[in-house]
C-alpha cells in the first residue's frame, strides 16, 4: 500500500515537474490572503457530523487543511 502510494507520488512529481516547466502556478496568489475573511462552508465529516467554520473552530479558531486526496 505504502509502496504504491510512494510510486504514485513519484509519478505525480514527474507530472507536475513536466507541467511546471511550461507554466508555473504561483500558489501564494491562490485563494484568500491573510487579513481577508474566510469563506464559510458546510461539509460532512467522516465522523458523521457536518462542519462549518464556526463548528470546526476551537477556542482560538480553525486550522483548515486542504489536501490532495486520501485515496491515492
Amino acid at each position: 500500500m505504502m509502496k504504491r502510494l510512494l510510486l504514485v507520488f513519484a509519478m505525480c512529481a514527474v507530472v507536475s515537474a513536466a507541467g511546471a516547466s511550461t507554466q508555473q502556478v504561483d500558489v501564494n496568489t491562490l485563494g484568500p490572503q491573510a487579513g481577508q475573511k474566510a469563506l464559510d462552508f458546510s461539509l460532512p465529516g467522516h465522523d458523521g457530523k457536518t462542519y462549518n467554520l464556526a463548528s470546526a473552530a476551537g477556542p482560538k479558531g480553525t486550522m483548515l487543511v486542504f489536501f490532495r486526496s486520501a485515496d491515492w
Binding site: V25, L30, A38, K60, M63, F67
Partner: protein, 251 residues
C-alpha cells in the same frame, strides 16, 4: 492540536466512504471533510485546474489558520519544489509555543539549556535538538578534536523512532593555558551544539503519532571544564528532549 486552541479539520475531494476508510486505517481523530464535487475547493479559489482524469477536483494543497472572527491569520501552500511544510509549523508560529520548552540543567561547572526546535512535529520532518552550554565564569570547556583533554561531546541515544544526523559544534577559540604554556581550542563563553534528527515513518511511529504520543529523545553531554589554574573532573550529564508527534499524516 486541540490543546493549541485551534480546531483542526482537513478537506479533500474524496467521498465520505474513502475518508472513513482512511481515518480508521490511520487512526485519525480530527474531522476529515468530504468536498465531493470540489465546490468548496473551487469557491476558495485553490482548485488545481491542471489536474485531469481521476485527479480532477484536487486543490493546491495548503493550510489556512482562521481566527474566531473568521479572518485568515496565516496561510501556507506547498511549493512544487519545496520541502513540505508541516501544518504544525504554521500553527507553532502563531501559538508562540513554536520551539520546545527549554530545560535548564545545572552541572558542576557549567549550565545547560536543552531545547528542541519544535514542540510538535510530524513524521518525516527534520527537527533540531540543541544544547546551549554556559561554562561557569573563568571556566572553559574543550572543543572537539582537542587532544589531551576530554572534549565536549553530545551523544544522542540511538532509537528506531528517528534518524540522527551528525551533531554540529560552533568554531572554538584558542586559549593559552599559562601554567603549561600551551594553546588549546576551547569554548569559554556560551555556545550551542545542535543535532538534527528526522522522525521515522515506521508503522510503530505512525501508530504513536495517531495518538499524539510524546517522543522522548535521550542523550548525554560530556564535558571537561578547566579554569585558569585547575582542570575539573569530566562530567556526563543526561539530557532529553520531548516532541509531541503530530497526528497530521494527511498529504
Amino acid at each position: 492540536m486541540k490543546r493549541d486552541g485551534y480546531g483542526l479539520v482537513a478537506i479533500s475531494y474524496d467521498s465520505l466512504e474513502t475518508l472513513k476508510g482512511f481515518a480508521s486505517r490511520h487512526g485519525i481523530t480530527f474531522p476529515l471533510l468530504s468536498d465531493a464535487g470540489s465546490k468548496t475547493i473551487t469557491a476558495w479559489g485553490i482548485l488545481n485546474t491542471e489536474a485531469t482524469g481521476r485527479t480532477a477536483g484536487i486543490p493546491h494543497p495548503g493550510t489556512f489558520i482562521i481566527d474566531r472572527a473568521g479572518t485568515i491569520v496565516s496561510r501556507a501552500f506547498e511549493q512544487p519544489y519545496q520541502e513540505r511544510r508541516s501544518a504544525t509549523s504554521i500553527l507553532n508560529q502563531l501559538s508562540g509555543t513554536s520551539p520546545g520548552q527549554t530545560t535548564a540543567i545545572r552541572g558542576a561547572h557549567a549550565t545547560l539549556a536543552v531545547k528542541a526546535s519544535d514542540a510538535v512535529a510530524a513524521l518525516g520532518h527534520r527537527i533540531t535538538l540543541s544544547v546551549q552550554i554556559t561554562p561557569d565564569p573563568k571556566n572553559h570547556v574543550y572543543a572537539p578534536g582537542q587532544k589531551g583533554y576530554i572534549p565536549v561531546n553530545l551523544a544522542v541515544t540511538a532509537d528506531p523512532a528517528f534518524k540522527a544526523h551528525p551533531a554540529k559544534y560552533p568554531a572554538p577559540a584558542p586559549f593559552v593555558f599559562v601554567p603549561l604554556n600551551e594553546t588549546v581550542q576551547v569554548y569559554s563563553t556560551p555556545f550551542t551544539i545542535t543535532q538534527d534528527v528526522t522522525l521515522a515513518l515506521t508503522p510503530d511511529m505512525r501508530a504513536r503519532a495517531a495518538k499524539g504520543d510524546v517522543l522522548t529523545i535521550r542523550g548525554e553531554l560530556e564535558y571537561q571544564a578547566c579554569d585558569d589554574t585547575v582542570c575539573h573532573r569530566p562530567e556526563t550529564l543526561p539530557v532529553e528532549w520531548k516532541v509531541t508527534l503530530s497526528p497530521l499524516v494527511v498529504r
